[in-house]
Amino acid sequence: MSILKATSSRPSVSRPRPKVEPVKVFSFITLVVTTFLMLLPLFFMVSTSLKSKREMLKFPPTFLPESWQWSNYKDIFDTLQFGTMYMNSLIIAGLSVFGTLLSSALVAYGFARYRGKGNQFWFILLLSTMMLPYPAIMIPQFVLFSKMNWIDTFLPLVVPAFFGSAYNIFLLRQFFTTLPDELFDAGRIDGCGELRMWRTIALPLSGPALATVAIFAFIYSWNDLLTPVLYLSSSEKFTLPVGMASLTSSRFRIPPWHLLMVASVLAMVPIVTLFAVAQKQFVEGIVLTGIK
C-alpha cells in the first residue's frame, strides 16, 4: 500500500514539463539550417577530396563518393612536394606571427602610452600606409631585397613582419588605451621600466587582442600567394599556396580538383587548430589576471 502511495505521489514531485517557446524553436531551427548551409561547401570539399578523377567530372555531381578514394590523400604527396611545402608555409607563417606580434605590440604600446608632440601625426602617417596597395610597392621592394641578395630565401617573406603592420598596430593600440593607467602607475611604483611594464602588465592583459592579431597574421601569411611567387624560385622552397596554384595553372588540362580539395582540407588544419587553441588559451589568460 505504502509503495502504491509512494508511486502515486510521484507526479506531484516530478518537474513540470518545460514550456515550448515557439520563438526559441524557430531560432533553433533557423540556426541548425543555417549551420548546415554554411557547412555544405565544406562537406563538398571533403567529399570531392575522396572522389576519383573520373567521378569528379560527373554531372550532376554525386553527393557522396561512389568509391572512396582514400589514396588521394597519399597521391597529393606524389603530385606535389606537399610535405616540404607544408613545412615551408608553417615556418614562414610561424615566424611572421612572432614578428608581427613582437613589433606591432611594441609600436602600439608606444602610441597608446606616450603623449608626445606630433603623436597624432605619426599615427595617421602610420595608418596611411594601409592605403598603399601591395602592387605599388612590389617592384621597389623587390629591387631592395634583390640588392640585399635575399631572392629565393624566406627573408623577404618574414623580415617585413618584424617591422610592424599598420592594421595590427592600430588594433593593439586601441586595446592598450583601454587598460587602466593605475596598473602602470602601480608598476612604476614597484620599479618597473617601460619595457617591463609592456611585458608584464600590457601583454598579459591583452590576450584576446594578441590572439586576434596572431590569427590575422597567420592567415595572411598562410594564404599569401603573390609574395612567395615573386621571391621564391626553387621548388623546394615553395609554399603551399604556390603549389596549390600550380595545380590549376594549366590552361590546357582539366585541373585535378580532387587533389586540390585534398590539399585544401589539409591546408585548413593549422588555421582551425590555431583558432581553437588561441581562443581557449587567451580567454583563460584574461580570466587568470582577474580583471574583468
Binding site: 629591387v143 634583390s146 631572392i151 630565401t153 623580415v159 621600466g193 617591463r196 603573390l226 615573386l230 594549366s250
Partner: protein, 461 residues
C-alpha cells in the same frame, strides 16, 4: 632596469638569429647567386670561367615544367651552359615577369604564357631582336621542320622576335555517345567536304538538343567557342581590325566593331543560344562545369568547337569522342584559329647566344617528339614530330587528328590575342561588355558601339 636591458638584448639576439638562420637556408644554392650568374656573367661561376647560366621562365604546371627533364641532356651537350627554370602560376605569370625585369633579374627565355600576348611584349620593348643571331648561326626553319608561314607570325617589319615551338589549332570535338543515341552520322574530319557548313552543324545540333526542367537531362547540340570574343566575326568573314594591324606590331589604325557586318556575325553566334536554342548560355555552362570549366567534359554537349588543348584531357573523358573539321562559316580563307606559342629571348638577357642554343635544342625533332609524351600532349610545330602527336590520343583515329590539323593550318589564322597590343585589357573589356548580351539582358546593337569606343581607347593607351 637591468632586466629591461636583458629583455631587449634577448629580443635583438633572437631576431638576429632568425634572420641569420633564414639566410642560411639559402646557403650555397641561393638563387640570388644563380640569378647573379645569369645576369652578371661569369663572376660567380667559380673555376669554369666560361660557364653561363640562362633562365627559362615558364608556367608552373606539368605541361610546361617538363622542360626540366630535358635539361640534363642539353647540359651534357653544352657543358658551358647551365639552364635554370624559373616558374610562376598562370595568374601571377605576368606580374612576376614584370617584377623580374624591373628588378634587374630578367629571365633569358620565355613565351607569352600569361594574359599578355606577343604584341604586348613587343610594344613594351621587352623582346630581343633575333634576326642577326639567326643569320649568324645560319638557323634555317626548314632544318627544324617549321613551316615558313608559322615563322612569319612573330616577324615584325622583317625582324624576327620569336621562334614557334608549339601549335594549337581550333577543332571540333564531338561526343560519339550522343551522336549514336541520336542516330546521326559523325561529322567529317576533311576540311574540303563542301557539305560541312555552319548551317549543317546547326541542323545536327538541333537533333541532339534536349532542354528539360531536369538539369540532369538537359543537353545541347553545340558549344561554339571559336577563338576569343573579338576574333569571332572573322569566322563569318567580317574583319573587325584594320589590315595594318598585322604588319605594324599589332596597333590597329582603325577598328569596326560597330559595323553592320560585325554585328551580323555576332548575331549568328548568339542565335545559337537564343533563336535556335542549340547552345547553352553562360550561366548553364558555369553551373555544369564551374567558372572556367567546359560543359563538354561533363558529357552534356554534342559538338564542341574550341582549342585543340581540349584533346589533351581526352583520355580521361567518361565517354567516347572524335575529332572533326570546323564547318565552313562564310569565310573561304579562315576556319581555324591558330595558337602558335613562340620561344622568345628577352631584351635584358645577358646571354642571348646561349639562350638561342637552348631554343634550337628544344626545336629539334627528337626533343619535340620527346616533349609530346613528357608534357602529356603538347602539339609540336615540327611537322615531323607532329606525326607522333597525331597518335597520342587513345580511341581517336590518328588519321582524323592529322586531317583536322592539316586542314586547320591551311585555313588557319593566328589568334588575335598574340597579335594585338594591350590585349589583356581588350579581352577583359570584351568579357565584361558582352556579359549582358550573353545573359539576354541587352542587344548587340546596344553593346557594340560601346565596345567600339572602348577598344579605340585601350589601343591608344
Amino acid at each position: 632596469m637591468n632586466k629591461n636591458r636583458k629583455t631587449l638584448v634577448t629580443l635583438i639576439a633572437a631576431t638576429t638569429l632568425i634572420v641569420t638562420t633564414l639566410s642560411g637556408c639559402s646557403g650555397g644554392k641561393s638563387v640570388g647567386n644563380i640569378a647573379g650568374e645569369a645576369n652578371g656573367g661569369t663572376a660567380n661561376s667559380g673555376s669554369n670561367s666560361e660557364q653561363v647560366t640562362i633562365t627559362h621562365y615558364t608556367i608552373d604546371s606539368e605541361d610546361r615544367t617538363f622542360i626540366e627533364k630535358l635539361i640534363p641532356e642539353f647540359e651534357k651537350e653544352h657543358p658551358n651552359i647551365k639552364v635554370k627554370v624559373e616558374k610562376a602560376p598562370y595568374e601571377q605569370f605576368d606580374s612576376k615577369l614584370q617584377t623580374l625585369i624591373a628588378g634587374g633579374k630578367s629571365p633569358d627565355v620565355t613565351s607569352h604564357y600569361g594574359y599578355g600576348g606577343f604584341a604586348e611584349y613587343y610594344n613594351k620593348d621587352m623582346l630581343f631582336d633575333m634576326t642577326d643571331l639567326i643569320k649568324e648561326e645560319g638557323f634555317k626553319s626548314s632544318d627544324y621542320n617549321i613551316p615558313d608561314d608559322l615563322m612569319k607570325i612573330y616577324t615584325v617589319k622583317d625582324r624576327t622576335y620569336g621562334i614557334p615551338v608549339n601549335m594549337y589549332v581550333t577543332l571540333m570535338l564531338y561526343n560519339k555517345d550522343m551522336f549514336d543515341a541520336a542516330q546521326l552520322s559523325y561529322p567529317p574530319s576533311d576540311y574540303e567536304d563542301k557539305n560541312w557548313t555552319f548551317a549543317a552543324m546547326v541542323e545536327e545540333a538541333k537533333k541532339m538538343t534536349v532542354v528539360s526542367d531536369n538539369i540532369a537531362k538537359t543537353q545541347y547540340g553545340v558549344d561554339f567557342t571559336w577563338a576569343e570574343r573579338d576574333m569571332r566575326p572573322l569566322y563569318f568573314g567580317a574583319e573587325p581590325y584594320s589590315e595594318d594591324t598585322w604588319t605594324n606590331g599589332g596597333v590597329p589604325s582603325e577598328t569596326h566593331f560597330d559595323s553592320p557586318e560585325v554585328i551580323a556575325a555576332y548575331q549568328k553566334l548568339f542565335d545559337l543560344i537564343f533563336k535556335d536554342k542549340v547552345s547553352p548560355n553562360s550561366e548553364w555552362s558555369k553551373s555544369v562545369a564551374g567558372q572556367n570549366g567546359d560543359p563538354f567534359v561533363a558529357g552534356k554537349i554534342g559538338m564542341s568547337i574550341g582549342g585543340s588543348w581540349n584533346l589533351a584531357g581526352a583520355n580521361d573523358f567518361p565517354f567516347k569522342i572524335g575529332v572533326a573539321a570546323v564547318p565552313w562559316g562564310g569565310n573561304d580563307q579562315v576556319r581555324s584559329t591558330l595558337y602558335v606559342d613562340p620561344l622568345l629571348i628577352l631584351k635584358d638577357s645577358k646571354h642571348p647566344k646561349e639562350a638561342f642554343e637552348w631554343i634550337k635544342y628544344l626545336l629539334t625533332t627528337d626533343v619535340q617528339e620527346k616533349s609530346i609524351e613528357l608534357s602529356g600532349g603538347n602539339p609540336p610545330v615540327n611537322t615531323e614530330a607532329a606525326e607522333v602527336y597525331y597518335k597520342h590520343f587513345e580511341g581517336i583515329d590518328p588519321a582524323d587528328v592529322k586531317k583536322v590539323y592539316e586542314g586547320a593550318i591551311k585555313y588557319g589564322y593566328e589568334s588575335y590575342n598574340h597579335l594585338i597590343t594591350n590585349y589583356s585589357q581588350i579581352n577583359d573589356m570584351f568579357i565584361n561588355e558582352m556579359q549582358p548580351v550573353e545573359t539576354g539582358h541587352k542587344t548587340l546593337e546596344e553593346v557594340m558601339p560601346v565596345i567600339q569606343k572602348k577598344v579605340t581607347e585601350i589601343i591608344k593607351r
